[in-house]
């Protein structure tokens, strides 16, 4: 008896200890501290007005239905401090300007890319995560901050899987909401703040609505955790974009059987020049700007109405209704066309060594231009005759480039059962979708590929959204982007990009597995296999972020699936298995880096002296 009692006490003690640890980390999540910069520099990539348009134009996404004024009223779990203070959200890696204040476009004074849209039917304002949240970067150096518009974010927004120590935005948000809901005093303060005049009558309704959102948030966390959907932690500045879009569209919206493990995080690509490309996405799978943007919005959390709550079909007229905002997406796309690549700020990062950069230009011509120089095509060869310039880029097969293949493989190999949608081939044939690999008669609705399925779904969503907005004909073609159809090609490879402004987008490779340009140009043996991510501190010498550990940093281990740092390698030996060029001496690597600082900056490029490049050599033969 006494033994039993002791065991019970022990179990109780252990439970309390466990709870204490959890609560400790709820109160002190593992986050970097935020230090405001002495000065924030913008690089004249566009006008102030265009910048604000890009930062705060909504695209129609929601965060599980979280309302804007709820978000701004939320408190931290164990304090009365607001959750959505700029200096607190900055700790997750969101970008704030020390001088920023509330504006009509940004009434909640939130970080870049956190905006709001109004639901036309209900008039509710939802928190809306826009393009800018993930496609804006910042570099810090000696107390100065340099904003990179259209660059790569370095936040932990995407992660939905909670960890003991916390550190993800979603987890911190969920904890704040849970503590608000279950702590009556906190909830009263919150309700008063949100309802204002309508307090206390609306309190019960608010509590119900709030609980719905909280349940969805916790439900997603539980779903993604117990299914083990995201085994490779994304950390800062990465997300498995394709995997998450597929899981939300095919899994959440259609059937749980369609959940697939998404273990291929990618870095956020930068956005200058994208409108000129023939194909976009890391694996060059998308062609039409609007379709790509709609797909992205669906992945980030736009609502999509496919079935009634009881699982039955939605009437044709309502089916594929979504919260996607085509006019705003078009505004964002047009604004991005005017985005210039960043210029190397010599006043912050130091002078460029022109002699070295001139050498670098010759090395670039010898070793890089073959893949990274854009092929500017004449009007008669363009996919979109009105697009000027139009750049065609090669897609380098996996076996050639040798970089981590998980991303390309997942997209190429995952299949989904969408038969529940009841599609017919006749229906699909009417849609403006163009398959570059494969054909409509070969599609099996029980085993459709991610890209093809998404193309047809976005086509339906687009049609519905344009119909709701009353847009058709010429105007629609213009908003789609140069009248392009929704093209799909499925290649197991990655698309090299032109390298103007590449210095501003560390870490490198599609999966962010190489911290600096210097290491990217080094043999794989000289690349670090583990490094810490999350610091904005820039290293102008080797061009990348600082990789030392600091409180709240994320350890990126390249030995984990999806994080591989091989390939794209310059070393002696035969050109195979990811070796794409001759060995570059450290001096040559530095010369190349120097050139990449001026590439795309006509003022500086004009100061280079001509150096005769060596001829490219194919290297020794591998066949003995």
């Amino acid at each position: 008896m006494r033994v039993l009692r002791r065991v019970l006490w022990l179990v109780l003690f252990l439970l309390l200890a466990g709870l204490a640890v959890v609560l400790y980390y709820v109160a002190n999540p593992n986050l970097p501290t935020y230090q405001a910069p002495d000065q924030l520099h913008y690089l004249d990539q566009w006008s102030d007005q265009e910048r604000q348009t890009y930062y705060y134009t909504p695209q129609g996404t929601t965060v599980k239905g979280l309302r804007y004024e709820w978000f701004t009223a939320l408190e931290l779990p164990f304090s009365r401090d607001r959750f959505a203070r700029p200096e607190y959200l900055a700790r997750f890696g969101f970008l704030v300007d020390p001088k920023q204040s509330a504006t009509p476009q940004n009434p909640g004074n939130l970080p870049v890319g956190m905006t709001r849209h109004e639901d036309e039917k209900t008039g509710v304002h939802y928190l809306d995560i826009s393009c800018a949240a993930c496609h804006t970067g910042e570099l810090r150096y000696r107390g100065q901050a340099v904003r990179i518009d259209g660059g790569a974010a370095l936040h932990s927004l995407a992660s939905t899987v909670p960890t003991l120590r916390g550190g993800g935005f979603g987890q911190a948000l969920g904890m704040s909401m849970a503590f608000t809901y279950y702590n009556p005093l906190k909830f009263s303060r919150f309700a008063e703040q949100v309802l204002g005049e309508r307090y206390p009558e609306g309190k019960d309704e608010l509590r119900r609505d709030f609980k719905n959102v909280l349940d969805r948030l916790l439900g997603t966390a539980w779903n993604d955790t117990h299914r083990g959907l995201y085994p490779t932690q994304e950390g800062f500045g990465r997300t498995d974009a394709f995997g998450r879009i597929a899981n939300s569209v095919y899994g959440d919206a259609i059937s749980p059987d369609n959940y697939r493990v998404a273990d291929a995080p990618v870095s956020y690509p930068h956005l200058w020049d994208i409108w000129k490309f023939d194909w976009v996405q890391w694996n060059a799978s998308a062609m039409q700007p609007m379709a790509r943007n709609v797909g992205e919005a669906l992945g980030v959390g736009a609502t999509l109405h496919l079935f009634q709550p009881d699982g039955s079909a939605v009437p044709e007229a309502e089916r594929y209704a979504s919260s996607v905002r085509v006019r705003d997406l078009h505004t964002l796309e047009e604004t991005l066309k005017r985005l210039a690549p960043p210029r190397w700020p010599e006043e912050v990062f130091g002078k460029v060594d022109m002699a070295r950069a001139s050498q670098g230009r010759a090395l670039f011509a010898e070793n890089c231009a073959y893949c990274h120089a854009p092929h500017v095509v004449p009007a008669d060869k363009r996919m979109a005759p009105d697009r000027d310039p139009e750049w065609h880029m090669r897609v380098v097969p996996i076996e050639e480039i040798g970089t981590d293949s998980t991303t390309a493989d997942n997209i190429a190999d995952h299949r989904f059962d969408i038969s529940k949608l009841g599609w017919t081939r006749e229906q699909l044939a009417k849609l403006d979708v163009k398959l570059f690999d494969g054909s409509l008669d070969k599609i099996d609705f029980k085993r459709i590929s991610s890209a093809q399925g998404l193309a047809y779904i976005t086509a339906f969503v687009e049609n519905q959204a344009y119909k709701q907005a009353g847009i058709s004909g010429e105007e629609r073609a213009r908003m789609d982007g140069f009248g392009l159809p929704i093209g799909v090609q499925e290649k197991r490879g990655y698309k090299p990009r032109p390298l103007d402004g590449i210095w501003a987008t560390p870490p490198f490779l599609h999966n962010g597995s190489v911290p600096t340009l210097f290491q990217l140009l080094s043999p794989v043996t000289e690349r670090v296999s583990q490094f810490h991510v999350g610091s904005f501190e820039y290293d102008p010498k080797f061009v990348g972020f600082q990789t030392t550990a600091f409180p709240g940093s994320f350890l990126l281990d390249t030995r984990i699936k999806g994080n591989g740092n091989g390939g794209h390698e310059f070393r002696d030996g035969c050109r195979k298995n990811g070796v794409i060029g001759r060995a570059l001496s450290p001096d040559e690597r530095l010369a190349l880096i120097e050139y990449l600082k001026v590439l795309g900056n006509p003022a500086l490029e004009g100061q280079l002296t001509p150096v005769e490049p060596r001829p490219w050599t194919p290297g020794p033969s591998c066949e003995g």
Partner: protein, 383 residues
Amino acid sequence: MLKRFWLWLGRLLGKLLLFVLVVGAIGWLAGEAYYGWKFSGPVPTEEVIPADEAVQTRAIIEDAVRIVEQHRDNTRVLRDAHAKAHGCVKAEVSVLPDLDNSLRAGVFAEPGKTWQAVMRLSNGNAFPQFDSARDARGLAIKLFDVPGEKLMKSPVHANEQDFVMFNHPVFFVRDVAEYRQNFNAQANGQKVGAFFPGLDPRSWEIRHLIIALKTLAPAPDSPVSATYSSISPYKLGQANIKYRVIPDPQSCPPYALPEQNTALPNFLRNALYQQLSLDRVPACFAFQVQKQNAQHYMPIEDTSVEWDESISPFVTVATIKVPAQDFDSREQNLACDNLSFNPWHGLPEHRPIGGINRLRKAVYEAVSAYRHERNGASDATSP
């Protein structure tokens, strides 16, 4: 019964310990007294040349060539000592701007002057072995474009000034005669035996054996983190000096070398490559000299005796900066191996003195010429 036995054993051990301590103390005191008497000044300030030195030198050259042949790499003939280089790196040697007048001579005559130089960092052994093996580590510096008449007449080295060092303050032989005997024994594969030439205990070189064992030490973390000494004495203008090169991290950006895998054969080269070529952080040294004070036992003809630093401290005369650079290409490494360093490449103001230095002149020349001819290489002057 057992208790009595136990106590008796304790007493026996106690007495034994006391006896050993007393004997040890007496021996130590006797040694101190003997060396205190033997190593007491004053000493001559001039060289004293033994009569049979030329004969000994010729014999040593023969042994050296024999060692070179026996320790060949299968494609190249290597040095008879310091065969394995960690790298040859460019360096800048800058004379202190406010150098004391009494130290201004030779290449240090002009304060503030910066010389371009090359540094060869090496292991002491005649055969390339794992860096983790106990060994001496060497540093040789060659200054370029040094004007003036040189001690050696070769046109190839007419504009050079060399400084040659290793990372222990004393040498394990005193003079040419002992070097011949020791070197010959080593050439025949003896190691410890080389210090015990005969049955007569008076010929045993126990002190030199201890120096040798201390010289063959585990590797430093990096070739640029060790202190290198000239061992043998030199002129500096009128003065007799010894010199050394010590790390001077304060003059360089702070740098923490990442942990190297010391199980790898060439981790010292890896460390050098990591710092200079990959992390692009320069390395800094100070060049220091120690003047002879002839009132004390600071002999010229015995390289196994340290000159007392408390009496005559080392003084910095120049700083050395090894800039961040690439040094590890095939061409550079080959050129590095074709360099030849000799303390006699240089100005009369830096004239090497003492028996071991006189010996080096002939032996270094002979081995260098032999190597270059066997390798079909010309005597390179720059890497």
